[in-house]
Symmetry: C2
Subunit: 229 residues, 2 copies
């Protein structure tokens, strides 16, 4: 297991790549690596974080609890993504909970190294800013989808998203396996509706399933559905 950030491949995907050698060394010296089991929380909504988490492997759901007790999944973060950044930058408690949806390996980086670099290295700060700008755009898109698309369309979109972002296994099933409940929390619908639509998509030949696993059979049809045909 590679343990120096300098040699860590996931760094290429996130803002740490804009750090200088010295800054990176400091981060590397202060970081600790943690294994997180599927279902375990990395942090919970409302906590104060004293650092960020860099995902080396696995996937985490970032979700927010609503008054009615449902959890809305706002984002799925995987290899290379840094989570908790928003909270550290804004010096606020976290607004989302992070829970592993597969076994994970993450590095915890104490905020001191991050914050001091933010104050001194504009390239790094700008890089973080660009990532956040990207997240904000994605969030805007989600808002529009939520309000303007039907549950069926959002379901179709979710499967396409899962394929594009996490790929398929050897047998052609979506690599990231989510429970029906998690899927319904991504889409923002009731579990029963989610299950019903999966059944419908199966009947229509858009999907196939094997236990929890879901495979896309007719990508075109799903795309058409999203577009409104």
């Amino acid at each position: 297991m590679e343990s120096r950030c300098e040699n860590c491949i996931v760094r290429q995907f996130n803002s740490l790549r804009a750090m200088s050698k010295e800054e990176l060394k400091r981060v590397s010296d202060s970081k600790t690596t943690r294994l997180i089991k599927k279902g375990e929380a990395i942090f919970k909504e409302g906590e104060k974080l004293d650092g960020v988490f860099c995902v080396r492997d696995g996937v985490s759901k970032l979700s927010k609890l609503s008054e009615n007790g449902k959890d809305q999944i706002v984002k799925l973060a995987s290899k290379g993504e840094v989570i908790g950044q928003r909270s550290v930058v804004a010096e606020e408690s976290v607004n989302l909970s992070a829970v592993a949806v597969s076994d994970m390996e993450v590095c915890f980086i104490p905020k001191e190294g991050i914050v001091s670099t933010l104050h001194t290295n504009p390239n790094f700060t700008l890089e973080v800013l660009r990532h956040m700008a990207h997240d904000l755009k994605e969030a805007d898109d989600v808002i529009v989808n939520m309000s303007q698309k039907s549950v069926k369309q959002r379901m179709a979109e979710a499967f396409l998203y899962l394929k594009n972002n996490f790929g398929e296994d050897e047998e052609g099933y979506l690599r990231l396996v989510l429970s029906r409940e998690d899927i319904s929390n991504v889409v923002g619908t009731a579990i029963e509706s989610c299950i019903r639509i999966i059944s419908e998509f199966k009947k229509k030949g858009y999907l196939r399933t094997s236990g929890k696993r879901i495979g896309i059979k007719d990508e075109k049809a799903l795309k058409n559905l999203v577009e409104g045909f």
Copy 2:
């Protein structure tokens, strides 16, 4: 009309306050002031911006068109807010359209002054980053509201938001007057549903209206509704 950024009061509310005297002078020399009439667009989704807009007066809706032809309003920007920032930072075309919902006065700041400061003044970059972190949190909250709250709850929330952010006039009506269509595009619902709920709230004594203008009569009731009672 004050024309130097150095003396401009709205600067206190946005990231420009983190600029040095010299940087600010440069921005001030390159900026141009524009008057925009209610209904006019500042920019449209998909355009490339070569600068940002600092709002000195009035309010702009930031919205995104969905396939079905409806416009989802993602944010209302008013005095002090800088719009187009995300796009300039990420070096992408804008993902939202900005249209004035009241007569506006905005300053256009060419991106060169912004971008060069982003590269050299970490305090400024960090300040922009903090603002974006705040916007991202707000966007997350909107996502959760959209998916977990009923239209009625979102309507109630919208009126409270309008009161908190734009205040009331002498007669106690909401200062920011939006068309029913704009309200429905904030809330993400059909115009008819929006109007119907306004009527219902009037009947129940939560609101009163006078033409387009809406006044909050029973804030507590609206709050209870949002909380789910």
